[in-house]
Amino acid sequence: MRWLPALLSFALPFGALAAKKSPSVDRFQEFHTKAVASSPIKLADNSYKKLTSAPRDHSVAVLLTALDARYGCQLCGEFQPEWDVLGKSWVRGDKKGESRIIFGTLDFADGRDTFLSLGLQTAPVLLLFQPTTGPHAVPAADPIRYDFTSGPQSAETVYAWIARHLPDRPHPPIYRPVNYVGWVVTIVSVLGIAGALFKLSPWILPVLQNRNVWAGLSLIGILLFTSGHMFNQIRKVPYVSGNGKGGITYFAGGFQSQFGLETQIVAFIYGLLSFAAISLAIKAPRTRDTKLQQIMVIGWGLVMVITYSFLMSIFRIKNGGYPFKLPPFM
C-alpha cells in the first residue's frame, strides 16, 4: 500500500495540467488512476463526496455495503467478490478510461455519514451516478438505484444493468481470473482421494458390495423423497413454528405447506409402516419358534394398524374434508 501515495503524487501533475481545461477532468483522471491500480476503489466519506459531487462528466457506480461481521449482512458478503470481479475486469478492459466510469465501494465503517445522509437502512445498495455534463450527460442528476430484492446477484446481471445505462460507450467484457490454486487443489485432492480409496479398497469393497447397505440407502432415499424433503429444500420451509400460545405447531395448516419436522415425522411413520410390512412378510414366516412368531405377528400387526390410523389422523389435519378414519385415532 505504500506505493499508492507515491503513485498518486506521480499522477498529480497530470491532474494539475488537466485542471486548466476543466476541473472535472482531473477528478476523473485522478480516480481512474487509482482505479487502474485497484478497482473498485475503496472510498470513504470525503472521497465519496468528491467523486460524486454535482457537475461531473463521468459516471460513478458505488456499492454501499456493510461487510463487517457485526452488521450481519449476508448479502453484502455474497455480493462483494462479484462486485470486485466486475470492477476489476471493467478497468482491465478499459485502461484508458474511455467509458468514463469509476467503480467504488463504500463500506459502512468508512462512510457512516454518507449512509446517514442518504437515509439508508439496508445494505447493500448499488448507486449509479450518471454524468451531468459532457457528451453522455442525462437530465436527471439523481443516482439510479439497483434492485437487490431478488437475492444475490452475479457480476453478469449487474454488468448487464450497468451496460444498459451506459449506451454508446465501451463495455469491457467480464473477465474471471482462472483460479489456478483451486484447480491444483481440486486435482490433488481428487487424486489423493482416489489413491486412498484404492489403498482402502479391501475394507471398502465389502461395504460397497453389501446388499444390506444398498437396501438401507435406497429405502432412506425413497423415504426422504416421498415425504416431501425436496419441497423443504426448494421452498426453505421453517423447521417448526409456534402456535401463538407458546406451544409448538408440528403440522402446517394447508395442503400445500409443511414444516421440516413434519416431514421427518411423516418419513418416520412411512418407515415404520414399511418395516412392519417387511417384518410381517419376510421375518415372521422365517421364525421357527411358535410363540415368538405369534408375538411378532401380533406385535407388528398392531404397530401397522395403529401407525396407519395415526397417519390418517395426521392427513385429516392437512385436509379437513378427508372422510376416512381407522381406530384408535378417530
Binding site: I222, F225, G271, I282, D289, Q293
Partner: protein, 755 residues
C-alpha cells in the same frame, strides 16, 4: 385362488381340481383383468356423468383441435400444418412442433370405427381415449410385475393398483385428452418390453421395445425419462459386474432402432444426437461396445495382469469420453440441458432464469400430503416392495430399484412427475402386498417345530452369506397359528378396502372437474353449474369477426382457439417467451403504453378472467405477478415487480394498492365498473377478501364488450383511433362531459409561425 367351501367331498374335489387346472387359472386371470380394466374405465367417468362429454382444462383443447384438423384434412396436411390462427402475427408450425402420437391414435380409432360402420363423433373418442388406455395400462402393469416375481397374485394386484390409483387418474379421467393419456401406457409397456428383452436377450423383444419407445417419443415429451432410465439401468448392471450378452443384445437393439424411430418425429429431429438429455443413452451405447470387447478379450487371454490393465484402460476411455462430452458441450456442439430438464437438478434454476416454467403450477415441488393423496397406502408399501426386490436381486429387480429412486426424486421436485412415479409404486407395492397376502392367506399351517430340523437341512436356498439380505438368511417356515393369519389378512383386507374407497373419493372430489365448467352447491344442496367460460367463448364465436384477434394471458389461448375459434396472440404452447412477455407488458403497463402494443399486434378484443364476484381464485389478478415477472425479464427498465407492491411489500388491490398497480391495464379491466354492482361503499372482492374503493378505474382506450353471468370472463374491445385525431384520454374525458382543460397558461410566448 378358488377356495372350495362345499361340504360334500366329490364336488369339492372337483372344484379343487378345477381350481388347480391351468386353463381355469388362465380363464380366471383373464376375467379378473377384464374386471380390473372395467373398474379402471368406470372410475374415470365421474365427470362425464356429472357434467357431460366435454374436453377438460387447457392443453386438451389444443389436442382436440389438432385431432379435428387431422381427421378433416388427412395425415399429410396435418404433418405440414402451419397454424396462422395462433401466435398472431407469428403463427406456429404446428405440425413440426407437436407430439403427434395422441392425435394419430384417435384418428386411427376414428377411421377404424368408421370402417366398421360405427357412427361415432370424434369428440367422444377424444373424451374416452384416456379411460380406455388406462385399462391397457393396468394390463401392462400386470405384465411388468409378472416379470418381477413368481407370485401369481402380484401382477393382478399391480393391475388393480394401477387401474384405480389417483396418481394416475389425475391425468387420465374422461375428457382429459392429453399426451399423458396414452403416454403412461406406453411408458409401462416399454419398460415391460425392455425387461423382457433383457431377460431373454432376444433381438425381437428389443426391437419391439424400440418400436414402443418410438411410439412413446411420438406421444409425450416425457420420453426422456425412458431415454435416461434404460441407460442408467444398463450402467448400474455393468457396475455390478452383471454384464451379459443378453444385456448387450437388448440394449443395442433398443438404442439403435429406438433412436432411429425417435428421429422420425419432426419435433424431435436430431435431438437424440445433439442434446444433453440423450447423451447418457449414446454414452452407454459406446460403453457397452467397449465392455463387450474387453469381455471377449478376457475370455480369449486368461492373464490376470492383462485384465487389470484392461479395466484401467476401460475406466480411462470412459473418463476421456466424459471429458470430451463436457468439451463438446462447452464448445456448443451439443446443446446443454434444456431449461425444463435442468431445473430438475438445480431446483432454483427455473425460478431465476425461466419464470415461464416456474410459473406453471404443475412445476412446483411436491409436499408430502400430495403423495399420500395420490397413492394412499401404496406409499408405505412401496419401500417395503423395493426392499423385497433386494431379496433375489436379478437384473429386473435392479431396474425397479433404480426406477424407484429416480422416480421418487423427480416426483418430489415436480408435482407433475408424480405420474412417472406411479407405475413403479404400483409394481413395488403389489410385490409387497402379494408377499404379505401369500404368506398369511395359506390355509395349511406348518407342523410343529420339532419337524423343522430336516427342513433346515433340506435347505431352501444355498445363499452365500455376503450377497444375501440379512433378513432372509433363515429358511421360510410359514405361519403357525390361525390367529396370526386372520389378524394380518383382516387388516390387509381392511386397508385394501379403504384404499378403494380413498381412490374413489379422491377421483370424485379432486380430479373429475373439467375446470371449463365449474360446479357449486346451492344452499339447498342441489348442484349449480357455472358455465361462464363456455358462455363467453360462445359469445366470441357469434359476435366477433372470423379473424378478430383476441389478447389474453397464455393460459386461455388453447381454449379460445378450441372453443371460440378465434386467433390468439399467445397460447399454452409457450414457445416464444418474448411474445408472451409482450402480452404481459401490455397487461401490466399503463393504458398509454399498452394501447400502441395492442395496435401493433392488431388486437381487437382483450379477455380477462376475474373471480372477484364469485370467489374464483384462479383468476388473472392472482396470476398477475407472473405476467409482471415475465415482462420484467425482457423489459427490466419498463416493468418492475417492486412497483406492484405497496411500500410495505404487500400485494394489494384495494385503495392501498400501489399507483402502478392501479394504473395497470389488468387492474383496470378486472375492476372496471365492478363497484356499480354494490351499494356505495360495499364493493368487495371475494377472492382477495378486501373492500374496494368507491371510485372504480377509468378506461380510455378500451370499451367493455361483454361480461359473463358471474363476471368470470370479461371481454373488452380495443377502441379504434379517434375520428378527429384526439388521444383517447381526451376523447373519453370529452364524452364524460368534462370541460377541456385550458392549456393556455402553460403556453410559452407567442412566436411567429414561419411556414
Amino acid at each position: 385362488m378358488a377356495v372350495a367351501t362345499d361340504a360334500s367331498s366329490a364336488p369339492m374335489e372337483l372344484l379343487v381340481s378345477v381350481g388347480k387346472n391351468q386353463s381355469t387359472k388362465t380363464l380366471l386371470r383373464v376375467l379378473i383383468l377384464c374386471f380390473i380394466a372395467a373398474a379402471a374405465v368406470a372410475s374415470r367417468l365421474f365427470s362425464v356423468i356429472r357434467f357431460e362429454s366435454i374436453i377438460h382444462e387447457f392443453d386438451p383443447w389444443f389436442n382436440f383441435r389438432a385431432t379435428k384438423y387431422l381427421v378433416a384434412h388427412g395425415f399429410y396436411d396435418f404433418w405440414n400444418w402451419f397454424d396462422d390462427r395462433t401466435w398472431h402475427p407469428l403463427g406456429r408450425v404446428t405440425g413440426g412442433t407437436l407430439y403427434p402420437g395422441l392425435m394419430v391414435t384417435s384418428g386411427a380409432i376414428y377411421h377404424a370405427l368408421r370402417a366398421l360402420t360405427v357412427p361415432v363423433d370424434i369428440r367422444n373418442i377424444c373424451v374416452l381415449l384416456a379411460p380406455a388406455f388406462s385399462g391397457l395400462t393396468a394390463f401392462a402393469a400386470y405384465l411388468l410385475t409378472n416379470e418381477m416375481t413368481t407370485s401369481s397374485s402380484a401382477g393382478l394386484l399391480a393391475a388393480a393398483f394401477m387401474g384405480i390409483t389417483p396418481g394416475y387418474i389425475s391425468r387420465s379421467v374422461a375428457g382429459s385428452y392429453d399426451n399423458e393419456a396414452i403416454a403412461i401406457f406406453l411408458l409401462v409397456y416399454t419398460f415391460y418390453l425392455w425387461i423382457k428383452a433383457l431377460k431373454v436377450g432376444s433381438v425381437m423383444w428389443g426391437a419391439l421395445c424400440a418400436l414402443f419407445y418410438g411410439y412413446m417419443v411420438a406421444s409425450w415429451g416425457g420420453y426422456a425419462f425412458i431415454t435416461c432410465l434404460i441407460p442408467l439401468h444398463a450402467f448400474v448392471l455393468v457396475c455390478m459386474g452383471r454384464f451379459s450378452n443378453r444385456l448387450y443384445v437388448a440394449y443395442n437393439t433398443w438404442y439403435a432402432l429406438g433412436t432411429l424411430a425417435s428421429m422420425q418425429i419432426p419435433f424431435v429431429g436430431f435431438a437424440p444426437v445433439s442434446t444433453s438429455e440423450h447423451m447418457p443413452a449414446l454414452g452407454i451405447f459406446g460403453f457397452l461396445q467397449l465392455v463387450a470387447f474387453l469381455e471377449y478379450v478376457r475370455s480369449a487371454v486368461p492373464s490376470r495382469q492383462f485384465q487389470t490393465f484392461l479395466y484401467v484402460g476401460l475406466g480411462g476411455v470412459f473418463g476421456v469420453a466424459l471429458l470430451g462430452l463436457v468439451g463438446l458441450t462447452t464448445g456448443g456442439y451439443i446443446a446443454p440441458w434444456s431449461g425444463r430438464f435442468y431445473s430438475l437438478w438445480d431446483t432454483s434454476y427455473a425460478k431465476i432464469h425461466i419464470p415461464i416454467i416456474a410459473s406453471v403450477s404443475e412445476h412446483q415441488p411436491t409436499a408430502w400430503p400430495a403423495f399420500f393423496f395420490d397413492l394412499n397406502m401404496l406409499i408405505w408399501l412401496f419401500p417395503a416392495g423395493v426392499y423385497m426386490c433386494f431379496q433375489k436381486l436379478e437384473d429386473e429387480h435392479v431396474f425397479v430399484i433404480v426406477y424407484a429412486l429416480f422416480g421418487s426424486y423427480f416426483a418430489g421436485v415436480m408435482v407433475r412427475l408424480m405420474l412417472t412415479l406411479t407405475p413403479v409404486v404400483c409394481v413395488a407395492a403389489a410385490i409387497a402386498a402379494s408377499q404379505l397376502l401369500d404368506t398369511y392367506l395359506v390355509y395349511k399351517s406348518p407342523v410343529a417345530p420339532e419337524a423343522k430340523e430336516e427342513e433346515v437341512t433340506d435347505g431352501t436356498a444355498k445363499k452365500s452369506k455376503q450377497s444375501a439380505l440379512r433378513s432372509t438368511s433363515q429358511p421360510v417356515v410359514g405361519i403357525y397359528t390361525l390367529i396370526s393369519k386372520g389378524f394380518i389378512a383382516g387388516a390387509m383386507t381392511l386397508f385394501l378396502l379403504i384404499f378403494v374407497q380413498h381412490c374413489t373419493w379422491v377421483t370424485s372430489n379432486a380430479y373429475s372437474s373439467p375446470s371449463v365448467v365449474l360446479a357449486s352447491r346451492m344452499p339447498d344442496g342441489s348442484q349449480h353449474i357455472i358455465d361462464d367460460y363456455r358462455e363467453a367463448y360462445q359469445w366470441l364465436r357469434q359476435n366477433t369477426k372470423e379473424d378478430a384477434k383476441i389478447m389474453s394471458w397464455w393460459d386461455y389461448g388453447y381454449q379460445i382457439g378450441g372453443m371460440a375459434d378465434r386467433p390468439t396472440l399467445v397460447d399454452n404452447n409457450t414457445w416464444n417467451n418474448t411474445h408472451i412477455a409482450t402480452v404481459g407488458k401490455a397487461m401490466s403497463s399503463r393504458e398509454e403504453v399498452s394501447y400502441p402494443i395492442m395496435r401493433q399486434h392488431e388486437v381487437d378484443y382483450v379477455l380477462v378472467v376475474f373471480g372477484g364476484l364469485l370467489g374464483y381464485s384462479g383468476d388473472d389478478i392472482n396470476k398477475f405477478l407472473w405476467m409482471v415477472r415475465i415482462a420484467e425479464g425482457i423489459w427490466p427498465d419498463e416493468v418492475k415487480e417492486r412497483d406492484y407492491f405497496t411500500p410495505r411489500g404487500e400485494y394489494r388491490v384495494d385503495s392501498e394498492a400501489s399507483e402502478t398497480m392501479k394504473n395497470s391495464l389488468m387492474y383496470k379491466m378486472s375492476y372496471y365498473n365492478y363497484c356499480s354492482l354494490f351499494p356505495p361503499g360495499q364493493a368487495q372482492d371475494r377472492v382477495r377478501g378486501v373492500r374496494l374503493p368507491d371510485q372504480g378505474p377509468v378506461l380510455n382506450t378500451l370499451e367493455e364488450a361483454y361480461t359473463s353471468e358471474n363476471w368470470i370472463i370479461r371481454i373488452y374491445k380495443v377502441k379504434d383511433l379517434d375520428n378527429v385525431g384526439r388521444d383517447h384520454a381526451l376523447a373519453a374525458s370529452f364524452d364524460r362531459g368534462n370541460k377541456k382543460k385550458k392549456a393556455g397558461k402553460k403556453r410559452g410566448p407567442r412566436v411567429l409561425r414561419a411556414e
